[in-house]
């Protein structure tokens, strides 16, 4: 299959809109604003080919099921009203009807035909999404699920980061889709950014893959969708879709070793002589742990704790002191440092741009 070069003609104009909700959601998709109606994670506001294909199919399925619903519910309502026992009932039993082969045949064959139609439409979209033919310039990412954060590695570009995925926008003239290989370090997780694609699970010992080609720049939200333990709820996903130039610049920045500054040597010393380095890595220093997020460019991220809190001095201090205050049950231990050490450590972390 070829990656879509033109955006789908808006399917809502072809199919009856079903409910107020779907109507407004679909209208949002048609205008393709950065802020979709109702929710930033609305599945009916797709901005990437896999999510788009699913959206078109879902409108077809919704139209079919809504038609069935209207027909059968009308029949039910009609029989309940029409055949209710009347006040002036004569007390005699109604005529007993035991069945009819013609009628049974009719309501067997018609559903079979509907099922065949639904299946054909579905099988087509399955093949479209699952078996794409990638063009030449593909960005490859390895996403590794951890309890309760995301590790991202760009093997071709030699970049390692955490929790905030950066990908280039994929426009019709030069498609640059991102192919994500999904691995897990511990339990099952699931990668779900509703506006970009359906979810795919990250299962240990069972590598999976998925792809996205976001049509517009911006921040896309999502979160882990497979129960993975205590803090499943705060394993949030943030995908930054950047223009090609911005993405190149971001990659260039991320490839640099950690920023070195003598002003914060005390904090650096604390970092390198406590348990921090058992789990965290800072490129170019002795810290090379891999249980926790890579901190080489910590301050380039908008959030900490997998999206659970904004990345600022106050939250960093709180996170080092008492992670449970932000994310109870996370695997980051409370570091038991005194105020002075926490300040020094935070100052060091703030230089990791």
């Amino acid at each position: 299959m070829e990656l879509r070069s033109k955006k789908n003609p808006n399917p809502t104009s072809m199919l009856p809109t079903l409910t107020f909700l779907l109507a407004s959601a679909a209208a949002g998709a048609a205008t393709e604003t950065a802020d979709p109606p109702l929710s930033p994670t609305n599945i009916f506001a797709p901005l990437s080919t896999p999510a788009d294909s699913i959206f078109s199919l879902s409108l077809f399925v919704l139209a079919v099921t809504a038609t069935i619903f209207v027909v059968v519910a009308t029949l039910l309502a009609y029989s309940v009203v029409k055949f209710r026992k009347r006040k002036n009932d004569d007390g005699r039993e109604p005529p007993q009807v035991y069945g009819s082969n013609q009628v049974e045949l009719a309501w067997t064959v018609i559903p079979v035909l509907i099922v065949v139609a639904l299946f054909m439409a579905t099988a087509r979209v399955i093949a479209t999404v699952q078996n794409p033919a990638p063009p030449g310039n593909v960005v490859e990412v390895i996403a590794i699920g951890h309890q309760f954060w995301w590790e991202y590695r760009y093997p071709g570009l030699k970049v390692v980061t955490a929790n905030e995925l950066h990908v280039p926008v994929s426009d019709s003239a030069h498609p640059t889709p991102t192919f994500i290989r999904l691995l897990s370090a511990d339990t099952d997780h699931s990668f779900w950014v509703p506006r970009l694609a359906g979810k795919t699970d990250l299962i240990p010992n069972h590598p999976n893959s998925m792809w996205i080609d976001p049509h517009e720049t911006g921040l896309y939200l999502g979160q882990c969708a497979q129960y993975c333990g205590t803090q499943h709820a705060k394993m949030l996903l943030r995908v930054y879709v950047r223009s090609r130039d911005e993405f190149e610049r971001w990659i260039e920045e991320q490839r640099q070793p950690a920023h070195q500054s003598d002003d914060v040597s005390q904090g650096k010393h604390i970092f390198e002589t406590t348990a921090c380095i058992n789990c965290h890595a800072v490129a170019g220093t002795v810290a090379n742990g891999r249980f926790g997020p890579d901190l080489t460019h910590l301050m380039s991220r908008g959030t900490i704790a997998a999206g659970a809190a904004a990345n600022n001095r106050e939250n960093l201090r709180l996170w080092i002191r008492n992670p449970d205050a932000i994310k109870p049950g996370s695997l980051m231990p409370a570091m038991q440092l005194n105020d002075q050490d926490v300040n020094a450590l935070t100052a060091y972390l703030e230089t990791l741009r």
Partner: protein, 557 residues
Amino acid sequence: MSTDAIAWPRSESPSRPFVDQLHEWVTTVDHKRLGILYIVYALIFLVIGGVEALVMRMQLIRPHNDFVSPQVFNRMFTMHGTTIIFFVVMPLVFGFANYLVPLMIGARDMAFPRLNAFSFWLTAFGGVLLYFSLVGANGLYGAGNAPDVGWFAYAPLTSLAFSPGHSTDFWTLGLLVSGFGSIGTAINILTTILCMRCPGMTLGKIPLLAWLNLVMSGLVILAVSPLTAAQLMLLVDRNLGGHFFDTQAGGSAVIWMHFFWIFGHPEVYVLVVPAFAFASEIIPVFSRKAIFGYPVMVAATLAIGFLSMSVWAHHMFTVGMSSNANSFFVLSTMAIAVPTGIKIFNWLATMWGGKIEFRTPMLFCIAFLFQFLIAGLTGIMLGTAPFNWQLSASYFVVAHFHYVIVGAILFAIFGAFYYWFPKMSGKMYNETLGKLHFWLFLIGFHLTFDFMHVPGLLGMPRRIYTYEPGRGWEMWNLIVTVGVVFQTLGVLVFAYNLLWSYFRGQPAGSDPWDAWTLEWSTNSPPPAYNFAAIPTVKSRRPLWDLKHPDDPDWKYE
């Protein structure tokens, strides 16, 4: 056989000491008493499971709420799911089957009365074992008490590394033990229906309720066995150093999913087929018409039973199966819509041209039909693999299966309660309270589970103890929680009605509904051996034949 109630000496007088009565209940092998034991046991767990749901809904009423900790919330949804499936709906289904099947096929008891008692006590012990984890599972500091791995307990979260202590062991053992009880009861029902029918009752003449329970029992044997095998493997992994599901040592997390869902999907039909059975008995009686298309109803049920064994991996569309495997499970899943649709149309055709009386059992069955229709249609959406990639593991799927389990199964079971309560207790329930229960529960159900679909469509995953503001989920979650209040009120009215009617209700007589199956030909409650003389039948509606000797069914069947 006579339509007159058969006088039969009562086996006990009400003045006997409590300990003697208790002893009789505990040692009973009578199918009716075991049926009632199953039902009462399930009702107790229904209250427990309901309270767990209430705790979750209180926590989710607004974003970043701290009503309970994440640890407690995770235990709540694990215990709620496990309790409702294994210790509420299954015992309710088995309880009604135990009570009704022998009566409806003109038998004096189940085929294996002592196996019946053994199976009940195994199931009861399983439930106790699960809840004993609350006090017994604290194997290690910080290991937690109740299980918190989710009701389908995906590997490797259940391994010792991620689930220390003994809570997961209690979960495994509880299901293992009650699973053996389920298999015992299934064998019993199967044998009873095949071997204990009264003279004249060929397989083409047994009431639909018995046919459907026959299919249910077959499914239990086929479905619970793989679950039992998986539980044994998990026990070996956790306690004897096995590596079946230990991914760090080359085990497979996916194989657990296959084992679980090849149980889990037929299990849905184990629960819903008896709901079909209740509807198939209640709808004809209150429409005053014979069931439409009996042979087709039987064939459709068999088709559902057969197909339900081939659809399990539609729970696994997101685990990365090949496109061919996904397509196969889409097709098999959609195929099951055909026999299910046939059943809905046949119930509608039964009502068509009848004289429908809106007594409480019928109200619940009409709501069952409406809600099962919607549950089936959202099932088609979920069965469409690509749509499923968006919907699965979201609140949409939670709303969908609650539509099945509450909207269809529980509504049909409530209908069955009101319909057979006069037979089981000998007393008539209070119709006004029954209708109040119906309307409260209907409003609560729709507030909760209609609106629960929406946050799923807006990207809210299931099993999260809290959520971020600004995702557009707040209002929907609030409405969902408000609905729970109405459901709780409805259940309170139901419980009050049962108790009040049991002690104060009017005598019901043997046949309050002017019904047509054999259970209504004997006393209410039936004597220990059911029938003074084993009846002989000539059609599917023996009491219709007796009441209409000029126009009996056997002339047409």
